[in-house]
């Protein structure tokens, strides 16, 4: 097969939509355009039926009851609804939330907002492998703690947190457990009952569905969880999220979940094999490091630092042909290197030198071969050009130099 360029290896940012998902959505734009809340005519019934079916498909993937699925505009909204909604609903019980420093900004910034309105938030550090310390988690719980918010799989490193152990601790102390599972749902088995999850956010566009739609799982039994709505209006979604339902999007999310459920086992095996091959080949180069736990990790993600070369400069060597992300400062709006990698204890220099590989359903072995060659060539070329590499090779201690900081 001829290799088509450019190659997309940024599936943790977003995934292309599966054509099967698009096909399922299409009738719901023009032909079946009804409002799912229109109770009195067939246009509404058709839309409602489609939404109900989708709710079942979504629920099935995570072993939930369809009534426990609240459709949202995406994971960011679901994160906001879970955190702010629990904070407001359980205000009489307490005002303390526990989260960790490597969470997605949708969680961290929402927690910052909650702090401004009088809430208390504990940000747990992670260990060098990216995992939280369960003892620290338990120690952080106070009488005022109402919620633990720890993500399932990290978007930058792919590190999977010990969700079942976290939920056991939460249960023991009568605290709710919310997880942002945007990167995990559809990729690895996620079972809200086996995992003891009370609330869970996820999104369609990370699992080959459309952008602009996601869901919040809200447990209805043992315990019955409620969240205060953050969007007021017509009382849709059991009053927790008003707003006319995005029927085509929801249909797409449902179909995406169904496909993931059918293909997850084979797909996870295929991707982890490719990812490992990519990683092993790149690790043949000196001074190359995998960031985060390699054991507790999503099958499609690798985060690798190539010491003594800078991430943006590195990407420039192949970004016409390969789409990737870097933890380098230069590629972020803030001009700060990745806070996730820094939380793992990486120095700024290693964070600047990192690339994130996000493989996906449409990644092929040929693409991985091409990527391995392109990256090796660029790393070698840039190291020849790097004063730091020269110093390293000459045995100069780079940390002993007094660098001029800007």
């Amino acid at each position: 097969m001829e290799l088509k360029l450019p190659i997309y290896l940024d599936n943790n940012a977003t995934t292309p939509m599966d054509p099967r998902v698009l096909e399922t959505m299409l009738p719901y734009f023009v032909e079946k355009f009804g409002n799912a809340a229109s109770r009195n005519h067939s246009f509404g019934w058709v839309a409602e039926e489609a939404v109900d079916y989708s709710r079942e498909q979504v629920a099935k993937l995570i072993n939930a009851d369809p009534k426990e699925i609240i459709f949202t505009s995406g994971a960011t909204e679901a994160d906001n609804l879970a955190l702010k909604g629990v904070y407001e609903m359980y205000a009489t019980k307490g005002n303390h939330i526990i989260t960790c420093t490597t969470e997605h900004k949708a969680v961290l910034d929402t927690c910052k907002h909650i702090e401004k309105t009088g809430g208390q938030v504990t940000y747990l550090n992670v260990k060098a492998d990216g995992l939280i310390d369960l003892n620290e988690l338990e120690k952080a719980i106070t009488e005022k703690t109402i919620l633990i918010s720890i993500m399932y799989g990290n978007n930058e490193t792919g590190v999977i947190q010990p969700v079942q152990e976290i939920s056991k601790i939460a249960r023991k102390h009568g605290v709710l457990f919310f997880t942002d599972a945007t990167q995990a749902v559809g990729k690895i088995p996620v079972d809200v009952n086996a995992d003891g999850i009370d609330l869970m956010a996820f999104s369609a566009h990370k699992m080959y569905g459309p952008k602009g739609v996601g869901a919040l799982y809200v447990r209805r039994k043992n315990p019955r969880v409620k969240v205060t709505s953050q969007m007021d209006g017509g009382g849709h979604e059991r009053g927790m999220r008003s707003g006319t339902l995005n029927v085509p999007g929801i249909v797409g999310l449902g179909k995406a979940c169904e496909i993931c459920m059918q293909e997850m086992d084979t797909e996870a095996k295929r991707l982890s094999k490719m990812r490992d091959r990519l990683e092993v080949s790149l690790m043949e180069m000196e001074e190359t490091y995998v960031n985060g736990s390699r054991e507790h990790r999503l099958p499609h993600t690798a985060n690798i630092s190539f010491k003594y070369v800078e991430g943006e400069g590195l990407m420039m060597g192949f970004n016409k042909n390969i789409a990737l992300s870097s933890g380098s400062a230069c590629t972020s709006a803030s001009l700060e290197p990745s806070y996730v990698l820094k939380a793992l204890g990486l120095g700024d220099d290693l964070a600047h030198s990192s690339l994130r590989f996000g493989l996906g359903r449409f990644t092929t072995d040929e693409q991985i071969d091409f990527t391995i060659d392109a990256i090796k060539n660029t790393v070698n070329k840039l190291r020849e050009m790097s004063p730091l590499w020269e110093m390293f090779k000459e045995g100069v201690d780079i940390n002993a130099i007094e660098w001029e900081h800007h």
Binding site: G313, A329, H405
Partner: protein, 138 residues
Amino acid sequence: MAYSDKVIDHYSNPKNVGTLDKSKTNVGTGLVGAPECGDVMRLQIEVDEESGLISDAKFKTFGCGSAIASSSLATEWLKGKTVDQALAIDNMDIVEELALPPVKIHCSVLAEDAIKAAINDYRVKNGLPELVAEKKAH
């Protein structure tokens, strides 16, 4: 962010990558930036003692494409200039030549700093007082 053709050209075919013998008295070395900031530039000049002209210039840079291009361009400009002429190279000349966007201006400032640092090293080695350059914001 799209790079200008000139940045891409310097990145793909960098001019004057390499190392001069820093123990020689007619070689000045400037090492600026910091690994934590994501850019380190090392720029070296070799001065022909008879003519007073910069006969060779080399660089090695750890950084983004714009940082590599800024230092590559700087070495091209340095060759054939007197030390005084070299001192007159302004970072904005580099910005203009490479069409650097505002977020990349610091790369040009770093290149100018590297030129000045290399010249100072050369001056100190040759018994001349160190020049104190005005500090530009990075």
